[in-house]
Symmetry: C2
Subunit: 112 residues, 2 copies
DNA sequence: ATGCTTGTGCGAGAATAGTCGAACGATATG
DNA sequence: CATATCGTTCGACTATTCTCGCACAAGCAT
């Protein structure tokens, strides 16, 4: 059988603040991270059901390469999860603080 | 006399997470904020003594418009300070967390 | 006033990022 | 096996950002 898709991730120690900040500076990606923080591991398509696939890949790749999410192949889909522990190790409190601030400033978030 | 330079700043409540994150995603600006957090109010030129003036203005303007810093004219120079309290009110813990993470991941910071 | 310093605005150019369609490979389903 | 589904890659286009030189305005010094 052919090798399944394999994704490259930065080591925990190599996660860099500027890249993480940049990854979280896009409203779309920020909402993805917010959803990941609520849901745990998620099918990639749930992060942007209405987006063109190539756009979705673009954003998930950026989140992965910046060290924010972990991606793994599962059959033909791909599953995404927030690297919460790694981020907590590297930058304690960062994700919680950012997501808390994000929720505070987003009125329309109380659904589900 | 002509009106002195006046700078527009977003209200505390209008400071938005994505813009702040973007402002802090540039290594140069991040180092500026780091220096501001140590020094309090600072002459703008101290934020980038070797930069072309127009480049410096570009970054300080971006930091100001995103709500990260407060700028005021003082004679012909301009003084910059971190909007620490406003940011703390709006996004508790964010700046401290980011700067802490930044310091952690920057070996060459122990001078001065 | 003359000259010097500082910040700003404008414009150009380069670099980076975002969006998306099309083609492809891999996987699941019939 | 044939087909549909999903993710990735590529290329193109657009938009945004970064950098910087230059000209200008305002404040300070002699």
């Amino acid at each position: 059988m052919a090798a399944a898709r394999v994704y490259k991730h930065p080591e925990t120690g190599d996660i860099a603040i500027p890249r993480v900040m940049f990854a979280l500076s896009e409203p779309l990606r920020l909402s993805m991270v917010q959803l990941l923080s609520e849901r745990g591991e998620v099918d990639s398509i749930e992060l942007g059901p209405d987006l063109p696939r190539s756009t979705l890949t673009h954003h998930t790749s950026l989140l992965r390469e910046s060290g924010v999410v972990f991606v793994r192949a599962e059959g033909r889909k791909c599953m995404i999860q927030l690297r919460r522990d790694d981020l907590e190790t590297r930058f304690p409190g960062l994700i919680d603080t950012v997501l808390h601030g994000y929720q505070e400033s987003n009125p329309g978030m109380a659904e589900a």
